[in-house]
Structures are given as C-alpha cells and as structure tokens.
C-alpha cells in the first residue's frame, strides 16, 4: 500500500467499529432530538457548540445534512485546517461567476436533489445512478487534503468521500478505457455563469486511468462532517490533491470511460496556460505568474509550493520518464 496512515494512531487506540457506529448513531439521534426541540426559525442560528466546532466555527446551514458513519481521518495532515467559512466563502466555480465570492452568493439557486450520475463509455456495466445508490455501497472516509489552486493560493480541507477507484471497479472498464472523462451539470437557468461564454459549457475534466484509480483520488460528497455546500461542488465532486484545483471538477453528472485523452474545460480555454495533467509543480511556472510559492488562506506570508502538492511519495511514480515541462 502506497498510502501511509499519517495519523500515527496505533490500532489499539482506534475505537471499535461497532462502538464507533453506535456513537455516531447516538450523536445523530441526539442531534435529531435537539433539532426537534428547537423552534424552526431558531434552526438557522443553532448554537450547538459541537456542530459549530466540527464545522470550523461557521454558521449552521439547514441546507446541509450531517454525514454519519464515515471513517474519520482516513488520511490526514497535521497542518491547520481552513475554517468552514474560508472553504465555503472563497471559491472558483465559474458556473456561478468569476469572483471568489460569487459561488457562495449565487450557488443557492442550484437544485441538487434528485441527482443522477451517468456512468458509461468503454465499460461492461454502464448505468445511471441515483446519487445515494452510487455512494451507498462504499465506506465514506474523511480525507484531509491540501488544495492548491492554479492561482497560487491554497487551503487544507477535511473532505468526506469515497475512493474513485471503487466506483470505477464496479463499472468494469474494458481494455479500451484509457482515460476517464467527467462532466459537470449543464443548467444555465440555475447556474448563471453558464449564460456567459466564460468557458465552454458544460465544464469537463479528465484523468488518465491510472490517475483515476490512484487511492488518493476521491469523489467527495461532504466536508466538515456535512454534505457539500453547492459552492463547493455539491452533491458530488472530484478531489485530486496533487493537481491544481481546477482538475477537481464539481457537481458531476457524468463519468465516461474513453480511449483518447479527453478535452478539458480550461485546456480548451487556453492550452498554453492549462495543460491536461496540471500537476502541482513549483518548477513549471504559469505563463503569467510563478508557481514556486503560494499563499495559504488564513495566513499572510507566502510559502514555498511543494512538488505534487506534497504527495510526491505517493504519485511521482505515475509520471516516471515523463517530461513534466512538456506535459504540464
């Protein structure tokens, strides 16, 4: 196994699963009781200190539901987490506008239920899944990852999701599946950015099959213990922590197995600036700014950017022999 458990907790210290699940259930039930006791208008400003702490001190949002039974800190880092307010208030999601505050401001209009994900292309078991059916068979895991935006800022985010490779295996891709193509929802009535020509809509992204199968790659459905906010790509998004943030496509409606390298939204927008691979690489600058340093949101001074965003031990072998200046 390539992935080291960085939490360093001996297995004897880990709560027995039955007890653990019981505890989560208890919390859920207790939470339900509290919610039931509270008058509906009060719900919007719940002062539940546990919930507030888990969510990084953000305001309670009734649009999100708590996720339970996930494996906490399946992969983690000891770096300081970004707060819920930072993670949900500073986003790039051009479907809702190009300003960093636009997604939070406008994403509320998006209806995410019901949500269907089509899995098709070169595989034996193509299917249309309701979101619940897509995720339910698998154990949810918390993955605390660094996110490095191509614009040279970064965050640390406690995602909750499932490894993409489990979902891929279930679809049984065949020998003609060399790449995986992802597509975001196209719904201009609820995604006002799609009424402009900022990008080629719908947004598409792609991974090479071995990148998609890598254990670090996940489909996230939540963060900070709750389902995703719309501005973070609800209800389901990709997270590839060693690549620039725009590779981690949001609000996915289609996953397709293809033979050739698929087109990707930012590459179509400007191929000289945004390559297909877009691995975090401090040595290969964006044509218009340096990628050697980044600003962690919540801090002032710039810090050096790490090769593969610090995940080189796990992923560098995927690119052995490749010229990363050419395949940026």
């Amino acid at each position: 196994m390539l992935i080291k458990d960085t939490t360093g907790i001996p297995s004897s210290d880990i709560t027995d699963e039955a007890l653990y699940l019981h505890r989560r259930q208890f919390i859920r039930l207790a939470g339900g009781a509290v919610a039931a006791a509270a008058a509906a208008p009060l719900l919007a400003c719940s002062g539940d200190p546990i919930a507030a702490e888990r969510r990084g001190g953000g305001a309670f949002d009734s649009a999100q539901s708590p996720l339970t039974g996930y494996k906490e800190k399946a992969i983690a880092t000891d770096e300081k987490l970004n707060t819920f307010d930072e993670i949900t208030g500073y986003n790039n999601f051009y479907e809702f506008g190009s300003g960093k505050g636009d997604p939070k401001r406008y994403a509320g209009s998006l209806k995410i239920s019901p949500w269907t994900v089509k899995i098709d292309g070169n595989c034996n078991k193509p299917a249309d899944y309701q979101l619940e059916d897509l995720i339910k068979p698998f154990q949810l895991e918390e993955r605390i990852y660094r996110l490095r935006c191509v614009e040279a800022w970064s965050m640390v985010i406690p995602w909750i999701g499932v490894p993409l490779n489990q979902i891929i295996k279930r679809a049984e891709p065949n020998s003609k599946a060399g790449f995986v193509e992802f597509t975001t929802l196209l719904r201009p009535t609820q995604m006002p950015g799609q009424q402009t020509s900022a990008l080629n809509w719908p947004y598409t992204e792609g991974l090479r099959m071995d990148e998609a199968m890598h254990p670090l790659t996940i489909l996230a459905v939540g963060l900070y213990g709750k389902t995703l906010m719309n501005q973070n790509g609800a209800p389901i998004r990709l997270v590839v922590p060693w690549k620039y943030g725009f590779k981690s496509i949001k609000s996915i409606v289609r996953i397709r197995f293809v033979e050739k390298q698929p087109n990707t939204a930012w590459n179509l927008s400007d191929p000289s600036e945004y390559g297909f691979y877009s691995n975090v690489n401090p040595e290969v600058d964006h044509p218009r700014w340096t990628q050697a340093r980044e600003r962690r949101i919540g801090t002032i001074l710039p810090r050096p950017t790490m090769m593969f965003n610090g995940y080189g031990d796990q992923v560098a072998s995927l690119y052995t022999g490749m010229d990363l200046r050419k395949y940026y």
Binding site: Y90, S98, W153, A198, L199, D285, R288, T290, R295, I300
Partner: protein, 201 residues
C-alpha cells in the same frame, strides 16, 4: 464656495482608502485579505485614472471649463492609489522578496504592464506643481501625455491578470479605450480647421 467644493471633492477622494484602512483595522477584509487589499487599491487607481481622463472630454463637450481645476487633484489621487497598490504588492504580497519581484517584473507580462503604468506616473506626480508647470512650459504638456501610455498599460495589466477576460477588466479597458479614442478623434477633427482651443492635451 469654490474652495468648499474642492475640499468636499478632496474628502470624497479619500473615503475609499479611509474605508479600506477601517476594514483592515477591524478585521473586515475578505477571506484572502492580501488579494482584497491589492484588488481594492488597484480598482480605485483605475477609477481615478478614468476620472482624470474624463476631465478634458467633459470640458470640451459641455463647455464647463471650471472642471479643469479638479484634474490635478484627481491625477494625484490616481497616483496615491497606485502607490498604495504597488506598496502592498512589494511589502505584503511578496514581503520584500526582491529576487521574486524583479523576476515578476521582467518575466510576467501583466506585472511588467502594471509596473510600467506606475513608473510612468512618477514624473507626472513630481511635475504637477505650479513651479514645474511654469519651468517646463510647453514641454509640460508633452510630458503629461505619458498618462495615455500609463493608462493603456494599466488597462492591459488588469486584462492580463485574470484567467478569463470577462467582466470588470473589460469595462475598465473599454472606458480607457474610449477616453483615448476621444482624444484621437478630437485631434484629427481640430487639426484641419483653424486651431482654436488646443489649450490642454
């Protein structure tokens, strides 16, 4: 009365930076405060640049000659906001890492443009006093045409900074483009007939 109006305009020009300082001191900057500071001061520099470039067209179209009295003040406020913008880039964004700054200015076209726009404003700010206007005479007018080059660079600086060219960078570039085009058209129209009112550039 005229003095009072000038004081009012002066105070109005100070409010954006006063508000920014207030937000900074009370912890009400955005989630990325450095970007907030840079963007706010940069946008205000562009706005004051547009106000400055508006003075002459407004005067010529409306015949309201007194507006010329505000041109120097607006120009100097443009320089103030551009200076703060530049200082934040050097002192906060890059934290005085001069190696990185020099590389940025040389290698990053959008920073080259911003830097050029700022540097070109320096001689204009210095020679904005009555003494310099008198000393330079006709050459003062020629020198101060540098503001057109500076404005072009500033517009391009913002256009090249963003990932997708939509929204506010386009609006500022359009405004500056129109204001410069006005001068070209005015010059062409007034060049042929008898020269009458080429008092100001």
């Amino acid at each position: 009365m005229r003095k009072a109006a000038k004081v009012l305009v002066f105070l109005a020009c100070l409010t954006p930076i006063a508000w920014l300082v207030t937000r900074a001191l009370t912890g009400r900057l955005g989630i990325n405060p450095v970007e907030d500071l840079e963007l706010t001061t940069g946008i205000w520099a562009l706005r004051f640049l547009v106000f400055t470039l508006l003075v002459t067209p407004v005067r010529r179209i409306t015949g309201w000659n007194r507006v010329i009295q505000y041109r120097r003040m607006l120009g100097l406020f443009t320089f103030l906001y551009a200076s703060v913008h530049f200082a934040i880039y050097v002192g906060v964004d890059q934290f005085f890492a001069f190696g990185f700054i020099v590389k940025d200015v040389v290698k990053r076209p959008f920073i080259t443009m911003g830097f050029t726009a700022f540097v070109l404003m320096i001689p204009l700010a210095i020679t904005s006093t009555k003494g310099w206007i008198r000393r330079l005479g006709r050459r003062w007018v020629v020198l101060h045409r540098l503001i057109y080059v500076s404005a072009l660079c500033a517009a391009i600086h913002y256009l090249w900074k963003v990932k997708v060219i939509i929204g506010s960078p386009v609006y500022y570039a359009t405004a500056i483009g129109l204001l410069l085009a006005f001068r070209v058209v005015w010059h062409l129209r007034s060049a042929k007939p008898v020269k009458t009112q080429r008092v100001t550039a």
